[in-house]
Symmetry: C2
Subunit: 354 residues, 2 copies
């Protein structure tokens, strides 16, 4: 069967804060069948993940960055944008997947994903998964969840009674970090960009305290107020000035789990990288560790079974902000970079027709 | 017996680069006996250690720094300055030490140390120690050695074939770090502040390469030249711009072992703390870890026996720069902060009369 496949693409490389006008929706004709003997699969996408890190793939990099020892695989203007998602198999030459199977993994910001054998990693959903909304697969059970779990437990290594600070705490990763830390017996404070989000952290998610960073002109003294005994773990989703303020309040042997730099992606007032006081780093024996969730795929099964249990028992609550329809993707993505306006939790777009 | 005890003291709190005129030599009358039943000891100091970190104890701290979670025990102007050293027991009420025992540990920049029971940590030298010059006890077998050993092995965790960069590489710690790293099968490049020191690193200490940072206007491209395949471990003794340049050249999973910030102590052009690119830190999964050797006292016996063996076998060479006489202490200390002029290796002052 031949269909018109709608997809989201960037009109240009993105500079600074992304705008809806940076994107457009295009169409191309595709055949809904996989090449015989090829291991290719064709998916009908049901839920797609909208993540801040995707902006790094939509930027143009200077040659000095390209020759660096890591390579961000960029997506050129006009190309189809890949994204984690949940999908239904419509055609498969891979014996592991058959028509109508539900899978989670490689999809596209598109109605359909036509995937070559080399292009995809997919997990077939099973009866355990079916006890939960499908959207959870790309949020709390997906890379957002793994990022929170691996970052906190494998990098931050919380001990009972320690004091944990989480920035962008109502975000897809932050809201889970805070709850995992609470379950570890830590004292947890989060910051977010609106009064409503602060309320959510304290009332729904069980954070010990929370504040709106936009109301705080002096972040260093704000953190001193919330952490009179200092910070042991800072789970950093934002970088910039918040990192400097957190470091000034760290305890001896404190750990900074560097997960994201969303304030540096887009905020023109926050373009200067943080100044790190190395004298403090040494005397307080502080560790700053950058990490990517993809380095922790070996713990994915443990993470998934633990987290499914906690969700089932109601001991972890997850926040999802789901928009409907392919055409809502640009707005959903752009909203990630506007802390105050965006909704809380994991941003997801569903392509399921009602 | 009553004697006049000469000691070095600071005339004022030190600001910026220390000067000889910041110090003076004073005298006070002391009795060379310990109070009966007190556990006190009295030592005749033989070798005293001259270390860059001592400057942090001679500065005046602002109230915000005092309320931080670590406390530098400052030494006020006029007070006797404590230092690691080798000494001979002249009087002891502690049954562990008797007259004429040689000990290493708490001493003073003074002819004699009169030590209350609560004030000292001392290790009695034994027949193993006697196979080496006494000065080694405060250099390669003392905190300089432990700092190099613990920092490299416990924090940096080198693997065979990795690429290691050491700053202040001819210094008391750096010259040992480079040799330990070579023994671990690493490729090692050091930087130092004079042509002579660079020669020493390459010819005497077996570094794979070395350069004079004063000849290099662009440290980032200099490091790219010396490390075309990137840096895996940066053992940082200097902080500042060198740290920024090293980070720009780090490989994925690189580790920065933060040991010292000597360039930031004194260099007025280097007062701004380093800007850390957190995006790189995350994508390259870099760790920066501050540490103090005193956190690794549990490995002291292992460190000591391994290092004594390596010295005995000639597989590690140690550099010492020994001045004679109490009155040379101020000059020796001030010289630590002038990379080009100072001699290489561990700075020691001997008080032994010839």
């Amino acid at each position: 069967m031949e269909v018109m496949n709608r997809y989201v693409t960037a009109k240009n490389y993105i500079e600074g804060s992304p705008k809806e006008s940076d994107f457009e929706i295009k169409c191309s004709k595709i055949v809904l069948s996989a090449e015989p003997g090829s291991n290719d699969v064709v998916l009908k996408n049901l839920y797609v993940s909208i993540d801040p890190y995707q902006i790094n793939r939509l930027k143009s990099y200077s040659s000095s960055q390209k020759t660096s020892s890591y390579v961000v695989v960029t997506i050129a203007p006009g190309e189809i944008i890949s994204a984690y998602g949940v999908a239904k198999v419509v055609a498969s030459e891979n014996p592991l997947y058959k028509e109508d199977d539900l899978v989670v993994g490689t999809t596209r910001w598109a109605d359909y994903s036509v995937l070559k054998a080399s292009e995809y990693v997919l997990r077939k959903l099973n009866s355990f998964d079916m006890g939960f909304p499908l959207s959870h697969q790309i949020g709390v059970f997906g890379f957002s969840g793994l990022t929170a779990y691996a970052g906190l437990f494998e990098v931050g290594k919380p001990k009972k009674g320690e004091r944990v600070f989480v920035s962008a705490a109502s975000g897809s990763v932050g809201h889970l970090v805070g709850q995992y830390a609470k379950l570890s017996g830590c004292y947890v404070v989060g910051c977010a960009g609106s009064k409503e989000k602060v309320g959510l952290l304290k009332e729904k998610l069980g954070f010990d305290d929370a504040f709106n960073y936009k109301d705080e002109p002096n972040l260093e003294s704000t953190l001193k107020k919330y952490f009179p005994d200092g910070i042991d773990i800072y789970f950093d989703n934002v970088g910039g000035k918040m990192l400097e303020a957190a470091l000034a309040n760290m305890n001896n042997f404190g750990r900074v789990v560097s997960c994201g730099t969303i304030s540096e992606y887009t905020d023109p007032n926050n373009k200067v990288p943080p100044n790190i006081n190395m004298h403090d780093m040494i005397y307080k024996r502080i560790m700053i560790q950058g990490f990517l969730a993809t380095d922790f795929l070996t713990i994915f099964p443990d993470f998934l079974s633990a987290t499914m249990n906690l969700i089932r028992l109601g001991r972890i609550k997850t926040l999802e902000d789901i928009s409907t329809g392919l055409e809502s993707i640009p707005q959903a993505f752009v909203g990630l970079f506007h802390g105050a306006k965006a909704n809380a939790g994991k941003k997801i777009v569903t392509l399921v027709e009602n």
